[in-house]
Amino acid sequence: MKTLVIAENEAAARELAAGARAYADEVVYATFADPVTGIADKCLVVEVPEGQAKEAAFDTFAKILADEDPQMVFFEPTRRLKALVGRLAAHNGASVMTDISAIDEESVQTRYFGGIAERTAKSVTPVAFCSAGAGTFKDAEPSGTDVVETVEYVAPAVTLECVERETLPPAEVDLTAADKVVAAGRGFGSEEELEEARTFCKAIGAELGCTRPLTETEDWFPREAYIGISGLMLSPEVYVGIGVSGQMQHMVGVDRAHVAFAINKDAHAPIFDKVDYGLVGAINNVLPKINAKLS
């Protein structure tokens, strides 16, 4: 069997190539730039001309797909690749399963309704396209040669002009590496109130993340700080949710925490059903008291 791996970033390229190795005797890896060597049997580089969106490489990738004829395509779940590779699949009438959480010979698992359930599904087309997030194949090891080929760019019929591009500053904290994670939720009434949460984090040695609304309805946090199904999937030792209701979409991101805590003013908040220790109380009332006791 042959698997094509498409990834933008190094860590994902390594993990997906390693995962692919477990199923396929041949692994081909394609990327836009800075190819990682030693993880596949062949590495293909697609260079998109300056001033174009990367999605403009669709026709080039379509040609790679036709030439290589893999039975399986693993891709990194970035926004761009979801658009580019999803389109490739549609072009070929093939199945796409994004953000799979597990895979075996027969089927893959994806989350349904934000993690309320797991959906087991099977591809019924000759080629299957899957995107898998970090950690899906964390135990596998990649192997391969250092052959790198640059693929000839096929100009698209419609140009996707890139008018502006800017690299974002790197994330300030790496929540994925943190032992202890505190998540702030909508229970915080203002940005100032977050100070109390920061004090709390310092006291227990935790990093501060948040629920999704705090990055989009409010912009109190950068996007990479929200935890959950569409954000960070974590496995910390300790999780503390403060002012978090406990919706599945958020909780699946911390479900693997060893010990979980919650503070919420509503005794019936669903989060209390998903933690080891809960405190019913309003943030501005109980958090200062907790901080005082901890310091």
Binding site: A90, T120, K122, I204
Partner: protein, 254 residues
């Protein structure tokens, strides 16, 4: 100019129950508009107002999605017309099937210049139907838009990716999916809802659209995960010593 917004109607996840055998019980869950599609409708309505365009909403799904309240909900948000296909063959439809049907609907509606989709559906969140619809239409597509603008011939999409921010311009007709931060859903007023009841709803049949494509993915089962066992010791701050007990538990893991 005509803008079409893709809207998925599905059961409200707040009311989905997990049964003893871990299967899901939707019997209490009413139909609702997929959360982030509300943001897409708002972005589309704002753009339509700015570009003086007509705005139509397009949806497909099983028969159960067709209720007057949900229709009014969509039509009260600045949408002029609603096109729908309800067919039980679309229960558990995959992105390929949905993309094909939506593309056929858009072709049948005619004169659509721009299709706007949401960030991802609340059930599958595959972030695929937008691009798959574009492929079926043969139109260019960009996802993750956080701001949109159009001059009638092109659409410019600002977006934030994992490590970059960029702005892409493409010719119309085109498909754009938008991130939730693109616009906050409006709260419809009484007059909007009353007017919504009088707006046209056009229903298609699968036959008129050339039928539903064969699935590319087969669902084997849908089961709730076994919940992580938790101690669930809940203290009430109103009780004597509750905060101390909570802090003691925290100390335990520090």
């Amino acid at each position: 100019m005509k803008i079409a917004v893709l809207v998925k109607i599905l059961p409200d996840d707040q009311d989905i129950q997990v049964k003893g055998d871990r299967t899901l019980d939707f019997s209490r869950a009413k139909s609702t508009v997929s959360t982030y599609d509300l943001n897409a409708i708002e972005a589309a309505a704002q753009l339509a107002a700015k570009a003086d365009a007509q705005l139509v909403a397009v949806t497909c799904g099983p028969k159960s999605i067709n209720d007057s309240k949900t229709r009014k909900n969509i039509l009260s948000r600045g949408v002029d017309e609603l096109y729908m296909l309800t067919d039980d063959g679309l229960e558990l439809a995959d992105a390929y099937q949905t993309g094909r049907i939506l593309a056929a609907m858009i072709q049948k509606i005619g004169d659509v210049d721009l299709v706007i989709a949401g960030d991802g559906s609340a059930d599958l969140y595959a972030q695929q139907v937008d691009v798959q619809t574009a492929e079926a239409l043969g139109w260019p597509a960009i996802n993750g838009g956080t701001a949109l603008d159009t001059d009638g011939a092109t659409v410019t999409v600002a977006r934030i990716l994992e490590t970059e921010r960029e702005s892409i311009r493409m010719p119309l007709p085109a498909v754009v999916s938008v991130a939730p931060e693109v616009a906050l859903p409006r709260i419809a007023g009484m007059k909007d809802v009353l007017a919504a009841g009088k707006k046209p709803v056009v229903e298609f049949t699968a036959e008129e659209l050339g039928g539903i494509a064969a699935p590319t993915v087969e669902t084997v089962e849908i089961l709730a995960p076994v919940p992580t066992p938790r101690k669930k010791q809940i203290f009430d701050a109103a009780d004597e010593g509750a905060i101390d007990a909570f802090v003691a538990a925290l100390r335990e893991v520090m």
